[in-house]
């Protein structure tokens, strides 16, 4: 394990403040985990243990919740998350092919992060932009009706 750096200390202080603020709400665990993921980018075991101690609940319970929901990740993520919509409408309009093209382009499979740490590719269930199928999302930007490799390349270039 890496020694805890100054930077990490700051992050833990931030998390401690979030927990203190929300502790008295009724059952705030999921909201706190969301905040923790925003602060750290992901939820490694150390962070989960920290939350367990601060909230005085078993770490096993936190692990159970983290692994249940797709939204939480225990692996570091890239600078941008590229979500490919695998909803039904996108599926019938060719999402598997889009996925193939994107993963060829970036050289990673779904769930992996590019070696330069730029993109994490993941597949999601419906982003609700079905009329633009097939769709992928980078951050908050949605790209629809993408059918060629050139177009994908052009879009990916915009994100450094």
């Amino acid at each position: 394990m890496n020694p805890i750096s100054q930077q990490d200390n700051l992050l833990y202080d931030k998390l401690r403040a979030v927990i203190a603020e929300r502790k008295n709400l009724r059952n705030p665990l999921i909201e706190i985990l969301r905040n923790a993921q925003e602060i750290f980018g992901y939820l490694p075991i150390e962070v989960q243990e920290f939350i367990a101690q601060e909230m005085n609940i078993p770490a096993s319970k936190i692990y159970g919740v983290v692994t249940f929901y797709n939204f939480f990740s225990m692996k570091p993520r890239g600078k941008y998350t590229l979500n490919i919509c695998m909803g039904t409408a996108c599926f019938v309009k060719g999402a598997p092919r889009l996925l193939q093209m994107i993963s060829d382009e970036l050289g990673v499979e779904v769930g992996e992060t590019t070696s330069d740490g730029r993109f994490t590719v993941s597949a999601v269930r419906c982003v609700g932009a079905c009329s633009l199928a097939p769709v992928f999302v980078i951050g908050e930007d949605t790209f629809g009706r993408i059918e060629t490799r050139d177009k994908i390349n052009e879009i990916l270039k915009k994100y450094d």
Binding site: R34, Y69, F72, A89, V92, C130
Partner: protein, 617 residues
């Protein structure tokens, strides 16, 4: 407040935003301030107008002119021609055959629609409480709080015939009555906004496009059942919906529509937003309740029902977004008015997300009992790309596929169920004859396997087994008896699973077997996918009469299995082909076809391998 002569309504639903609506809005602001017209023209950002396929769309009042597929470059012309000179821009209007349609209400897409839940969506600024009130908002709440007892309010809902819009269609008044009759100090109401069905976006559009309506609906429910606290459970993938609901709650609190003694009565109410974290099963009410409690979203056996022991063990009503959206109008216009729409057992209207291989994709609201034909061909504008209609998938992973013979079936809860489909939350995915139904069934099974919470074994193990069989079939390894095994497993899983996810998950497989059995048989017996979708069950072939010998395919082939020359033309080495499709994409004269079935070379190669292995053993 100044009076402005033109209202410019820009659709900022998810479809139009993805198509660039925000850039257009910014451009309008820039051009109008440049020309000094900001005092004359009112730019309003609305929720989803519906015809997403035309996006970005906008409507300009007072005339009600409808523009489609607007780009930032069109903005200058709209301002100069339409706003300054009063000459609407013809080329941005909808062309229907040789007719130009100028007016918003004449667009064919809207003709068979009746907007109740969606009445304000795309018509008002969702971030303005004043605009909601101007359309009659909070009138229902005022009337009910000051003139009706909770029992009387429940009776109105009973008379209207409103049923849950989340999928199962449970009568809303019965849920309410059960909670109303419990004598407890604390009760809760939850709005289920965990819209997880792939291919469905109506709850999102409602939450984003008319948040106050949902809030008012929730308060009407709360008063009727005696709850003083409500929760919105909205999935994390919808950040704008979360923001708008939070904002609506704040606005309502500021003017006293939330908090203590609302409308001067004894009714007190507080609402709060909880966000999901990406688990499909949390749409199930018990799982949703556990998720709000901060636990894993596992369903628990019913009874006890949430009406008896729900959130933190207290009686709880869980209503879908669209169910709540109907309530204000029911109380204003009356139960009788509402129940005149629809069929014998299903009253009112239903919002559908219409997508797939049709011309007009988008958000539609039609009276219950509208036929699939009207929805797909009249509202949806028919098939796109010149292909034939093959099937329509209703109800997401819990629903089923219907065929051309069901096009004249009136859509209501019972008729769909009898035919193996389901109303579900309202996703309608239209498929043309290029789609492989076995592959579609596999897609849904993959979804359900992934989203099964794993608590009960029929769902956790049974669905996985079904998926394995489907996977085998699509890879050319199907066996005699696979169809029967799928049916047996499906019926068992449906019968003994704990919650709605497992009980309905086999539907897509069972319904496709019911209506497209021949496709399953072709995959299993002939090892052929006639729609040429399943990679292992078709092969590529170069038609030598069309091939010009340019060698492009050979150069682009990652497996190096295409050989030939300009004179002899090119041939694909079938044994090494990985079916990537590059050759077909790059061929300049489209000389490469997909042929159903496994090539004889590949079959022979496999047999030879098997024989050698047997000898070695």
């Amino acid at each position: 407040m100044s009076l402005k002569r033109i209202d410019l309504l820009i659709c900022c639903g998810s479809g139009c935003i993805s198509a660039g609506a925000l850039k257009i809005k910014e451009r309008f602001h820039a051009v109008l301030s440049e020309k000094g017209l900001t005092n004359e023209i009112n730019i309003i950002e609305t929720g989803c107008m519906g015809p997403c396929d035309y996006g970005p769309v906008m409507v300009i009042y007072p005339e009600g002119i409808f523009y489609k597929k607007v780009t930032p470059e069109d903005v200058d012309e709209i301002v100069a021609e339409h706003f300054v000179k009063g000459r609407p821009v013809q080329r941005l209007m909808l062309q229907d055959e040789d007719k130009t349609i100028a007016a918003h209400k004449e667009v064919p897409f809207y003709q068979k629609q009746v907007k109740v839940a969606l009445a304000n969506c795309g018509f008002i600024d969702p971030e303005s409480l004043e605009e909601y009130i101007a359309t009659g908002g909070y009138e229902a709440l005022g009337t009910v709080l000051t003139q009706m007892t909770p029992q009387q309010a429940i009776d109105v809902v009973k008379e209207s015939g409103l049923r849950g819009r989340g999928g199962a269609g449970f009568p809303t008044h019965m849920k309410w009555k059960m909670v109303h009759d419990r004598k407890e100090d604390q009760k809760y109401v939850i709005c289920n906004g965990d819209e997880g069905d792939p291919g469905a976006f109506m709850d999102r559009s409602l939450l984003e496009g008319d948040p106050h309506r949902i809030l008012e609906g929730m308060m009407l429910c709360a008063y009727s059942i005696g709850a003083s606290q409500g929760f919105f459970y909205i999935r994390a993938e919808y950040p704008l919906a979360i923001k708008r609901i939070k904002q609506a709650i704040e606005q309502a609190r500021e003017v006293g529509l939330m908090g203590k003694n609302i409308f001067g009565t004894d009714f007190c109410f507080e609402a709060e937003v909880r966000t999901g974290a990406g688990a499909f099963v949390c749409g199930e009410e018990m799982a949703l309740i556990h998720s709000i409690e901060g636990e894993r979203g596992n369903p628990t056996p019913k009874p006890p029902y949430p009406a008896v022991s729900g959130l933190w063990g207290k009686p709880t009503v869980v209503n879908n977004v669209e169910t709540l959206a109907n309530l204000p109008t029911i109380f204003v216009k009356g139960a009788k008015w509402f129940s005149t729409m629809g069929t014998e057992t299903s009253k009112g209207t239903k919002v559908f997300a219409l997508t797939g291989d049709i011309r007009n994709t988008g958000l539609v609201e039609v009276p219950m009992g509208t036929t699939l034909r009207e929805m797909i061909f009249d509202v949806g504008g028919g098939m796109i790309g010149g292909n034939e209609f093959k099937a329509v998938q209703l109800g997401g992973p819990s629903g089923g596929c219907l065929t051309a013979e069901h096009l004249d079936v009136p859509v209501d809860y019972e008729t769909l169920k009898a035919r193996g489909a389901m109303m579900g939350s309202g996703g309608v995915i239209v498929m043309d004859d290029q789609k492989c139904m076995v592959n579609v069934a596999k897609f849904f099974m993959d979804f359900c396997v992934d989203e099964s919470c794993g608590k009960c074994s029929p769902c956790r193990i049974g669905l996985k087994q079904m998926y394995n069989i489907l996977d085998r079939i699509t890879k050319g390894e199907g066996q005699e008896g696979d169809i029967e095994e799928l049916q047996r497993l499906g019926e068992t899983v449906a019968k003994i699973s704990l919650c709605g996810l497992g009980q309905t998950a086999p539907n897509p497989v069972l319904s496709t077997i019911r209506y497209f059995r021949n496709e399953y048989e072709a995959h299993i017996k002939d090892k052929a996918c006639h729609t040429k979708v399943c990679r292992d069950l078709f092969h590529f072939k170069i038609d030598k009469s069309r091939c010009i010998g340019c060698s492009l395919c050979s150069r682009k082939c990652p497996a190096n299995c295409i050989s030939g020359s300009r004179e002899d033309k090119y041939t694909i080495g079938q044994v090494d082909c990985v079916k990537c499709g590059n050759c077909q994409d790059v061929c300049p004269v489209k000389a490469i076809d997909r042929i159903p079935g496994i090539h004889s070379d590949v079959t022979a190669h496999k047999e030879a391998l098997l024989k050698r292995k047997a000898r070695e053993d």
